[in-house]
């Protein structure tokens, strides 16, 4: 074991007090950043996510402009007499799908759908889960019981089965479902709603656990002794301490929900057939993967890269937020 530099032991064993070395004060955010930037994988994940977001925003229109092919434009020459699509060539970089559409253009547009669904559904789930978890954990008692059991019920519900019902019920008319409180339009809104309903309970459980711990902390007692009300404590004392974990879980939830959308689309329950999404393209590949490998490779690769990027970033963020982690 070595001593700190300011305490140097002389040969006689006496301790000589030297001039202390000045240590710059570091803010929590700076400490966080210093830890995060050492994690190259997380940074790479972050860069990939930025690139994917750019693709989601600009990729589709640019691909359309470059190739001259619309996302729903069919090309008879890109399927054989039996309707089996042809693979990549100079004009169709990713080949064609089974309807003879340009897979490259659809994959680029698909990024928009998949990321939009993933981010929006995760955002809504986080918000609901945060509110429910904080209220349940902070107030306890019957409120906790009611909210926690509600979340448990949702966790026990067969998700795909309910998703099938909701999507079918809300897709049978042009106007969608009238749920009294709001009108649920078929297509993306239904998919987002279904994913949100089945995602928030996980977040609520986690937030409740953190809140149960935080409400016993000294700084909460101090705030209360200074006259702060429940809402103020929740907003100014509890919530800031939940931000770190929430960001981490958000990065893990987004890819999960992208995969959920892909699963729904794979089952034919996701976005409309004319809206490109990676899951829908993979659904198209299900009967053709052994003769049209490109249908699985390109959207599958984007899906894997996206999932991994979010997971690596989330992993890095968790390490960076957690001062006890071994680095």
């Amino acid at each position: 074991m070595t001593n700190p530099p300011e305490f140097q032991v002389t040969s006689g064993g006496a301790v000589a007090l030297q001039q202390p070395i000045s240590v710059a004060r570091k803010s929590p955010s700076r400490l966080f950043w210093e830890r995060l930037r050492q994690d190259k994988a997380a940074l790479a994940g972050g860069v990939v996510i930025v690139v994917l977001v750019l693709i989601a925003i600009f990729g589709g229109p640019i691909a359309k402009q470059v190739t001259g092919h619309g996302p729903n434009q069919t090309f008879d020459s890109m399927t054989d007499a039996y309707g089996v699509p042809y693979g990549p060539n100079a004009s169709f970089w990713f080949g064609a799908d089974s309807a003879g559409r340009d897979l490259f253009v659809r994959t680029m547009y698909g990024a928009r759908t998949s990321l939009f669904v993933g981010v929006v559904a995760s955002g809504l789930a986080l918000f609901i889960g945060l509110v429910v978890g904080m209220v349940a954990g902070f107030f306890g008692g019957w409120i906790d019981t009611l909210l926690s059991r509600s979340a448990d019920v949702l966790l026990a519900v067969p998700q795909i089965l309910i998703a099938v019902g909701v999507v079918a019920a809300c897709s049978s008319s042009k106007s969608g479902c009238d749920l009294k409180l709001f009108h649920l339009q078929p297509g993306l809104p239904v998919v987002i709603a279904v994913i949100t309903v089945f995602s928030w309970s996980y977040i609520a459980r986690i937030v409740r656990g953190y809140t149960l711990s935080l409400r016993e902390k000294e700084f909460v007692e101090a705030a209360r002794s200074l006259g702060a009300g429940n809402i103020r404590i929740l907003a100014t004392e509890i919530f800031p301490n939940l931000v770190g974990p929430l960001i981490v879980y958000a990065t893990l939830l987004i890819p999960t929900n992208i995969l959920f959308e892909a699963a729904l689309s794979y089952l034919g329950l996701g976005v409309p057939a004319t809206t490109p999404s990676w899951g829908a393209i993979l659904n198209d590949a299900s009967g053709l993967y052994d003769v049209a490998w490109w249908l699985m490779l390109f959207p599958g690769a984007f899906l894997i890269i996206t999932t991994l990027a979010f997971n690596l970033l989330g992993d890095g963020l968790r390490d960076a937020f957690d001062v006890r982690s071994d680095r």
Binding site: D39, K40, A41, A44, G45, V48, N72, Q73, T74, D76, T79, D80, A81, Y82, G83, V84, P85, Y86, G87, P88, N89, G95, S98, A99, V164, V167, A168, S171, S172, S173, K174, P186, L267, G268, L269, P272, A273, T274, A280, N283, D284, S286, G287, L288, Y289, D290, V291, A292, W293, W294, M296, L297, G300, A301, I304, I305, L308, A309, L312, D315
Partner: protein, 632 residues
Amino acid sequence: MRKPLRLALLALPVAALAILTAGCGSKSSSGSSNNNGSSGASSAGGYTGTYENGSAEKGGTYTVGWEQSFGFTDNFDPTGEYLGNAWGILDNLLVRPLIGYKHAAGADGNELIGDLATAVPTPTDNGLTYTYKLRSGIKFGPPVNRVITSKDVAYALDRLADAKNGGQYGFYYSVIKGWDAAGKNGSHVSGIDTPDNNTLVIHLTKPTGDFNRRMSMPATAPIPSNVGDCFKGKPGAYGRNVISSGPYMIAGSTGSFTSCSALKPFSGYAGDNGNHLTLVRNPNYDQSTDSYRKNYPDKFAFVVNSNADDIYNKVQAGQYDDEQSSPQPKTIRQYVTDPNLKKRLLVNGGDRTWYITMNLTQPPFDDIAVRKAMNYIIDKQALRKAWGGPVVAAIGTHIAPPAMYNNGLAEYDPYATPNFSGDLAKAQAEMKKSKYSNGTGTCSASACKGVLMVADTRAVDNRMIPVIQADAKKIGITFTVRSINGAYTTIQTTNKNVPISERPGWGKDYADPYTFFGELFDSRALIPSGNTNYSLVGITPQINTEKKLGVKGNLNNVPSVNNLIDNCQTKLGDARLTCWENLDKHLMTQVVPWVPYLFANVATILGPRVTNWSYDQFSDTTAYSQVAVKQA
């Protein structure tokens, strides 16, 4: 170590996926080749009919892979079962209605024969009375083991009349005197007499030219009353205890019937949700009473398999002999292009029309000019390709397939376009006549924008939708597509007011065009849910109110064809076919409820053990009574 590993994670799975998919693709490089894909085995009219691959011998097991589930509509109970593939099993192997078929392909297969009856009777009493003489000595299989009498046929008809027993096509028999009254109180149908054990007399309320055909459907086959009574008011329950009157019986049908409580479901129809059906020889069957069933195999095994690829792999490997599935385009291409496999792909006419239905009450399809324009603009070749090309179907150009008219209307196409690929000029010429177009040739009204189209979620729907959207857009019609898993439920509900759907298809119940026109265009048959007249042909405000259909739209001046249907129903023979042909033309030119685009084929792929096979035109599936396999 950790960080480089995590970085590498970004690249490794993609590389792995690339290797995996490339590996899969290496099985067939033709996917990216410039294979023009000739239609190979079939085009319209070039049907296979039969297949011979050696001499037919008695014995062996004929195994059929069945995709997803049996999909029985009434659990295989003959009284209610309405699935064509189930009819193929019932009529070929398990039951003998009074009237039958030769279990052959084409027109020959639609010719009526006496099955349980000695002959096909000619009606008397101005077409109002049919007298059937039963063959003597035909017995029920175990556990009933007694001679079949006319009372057993009368019992089956009474059972069908009583709605509580789950009959799904009892409407065909409402022309029998007292049918509707018996249906309400569960009594004997007064218009059915059994003067002796070998005679059945049926009295009708009006001449019905296709009545003998109606007596060929499985629900009319004899049922022993002591067993049938065990399942009174329990739709579908008899399906696991069907008592054989044919050459085979459900495995496990043994012993003697003593009581309902002692009667257990036969073991041959078992598994979760009935995932396998095994038939074995009926020991009481007398081949000398039957001229058309060959009955080569000792056993039939129908096995549910959820994986279509696995089914075709097993058929190719000889583990299955036949399949009840829908070959994907890749499978068809494989069999058409491989000379060794080609002869095992058998293509026959399916007596089914696939069509886009347009609702005559909903804008913009309440305008006949728009409906005609749609007929001109749709690229039927592209839609056929979406289904898998010429092997899968012939191009549909009118309501009922030509086979229904004994190949009449084979060349009839009132909306002919070059190569069936659509004609923009003709479509625009029609659209100019529309109230929605302002004479521009494209639909400029808001009614044409974002029109609701209900589609299904099958792969073929996803391939068709962009074609239809792109075509309609050329004449100014855009769609809001709603893809629903099981879209039929929605389009069969009248108050959903669905303007257009690409989902429908319709196949015959028996070989008479009435089975198209009566159910699809007769406004008297309109019902709020389960409706099959999707276009609402013949609807009036009065019908809408009386039948509580809940239709909101333009109900005035919707054309009706009820009188034309009634007129054809009184005719027989060639005059009858000509009448139906004229009605088909009338519908296509004066009503225009559909864009018919395919006359379906049935593509069947056989395993290498099969030595004899024939198509059954009546049930549009394998003629199981004609097949044979090599011994193991």
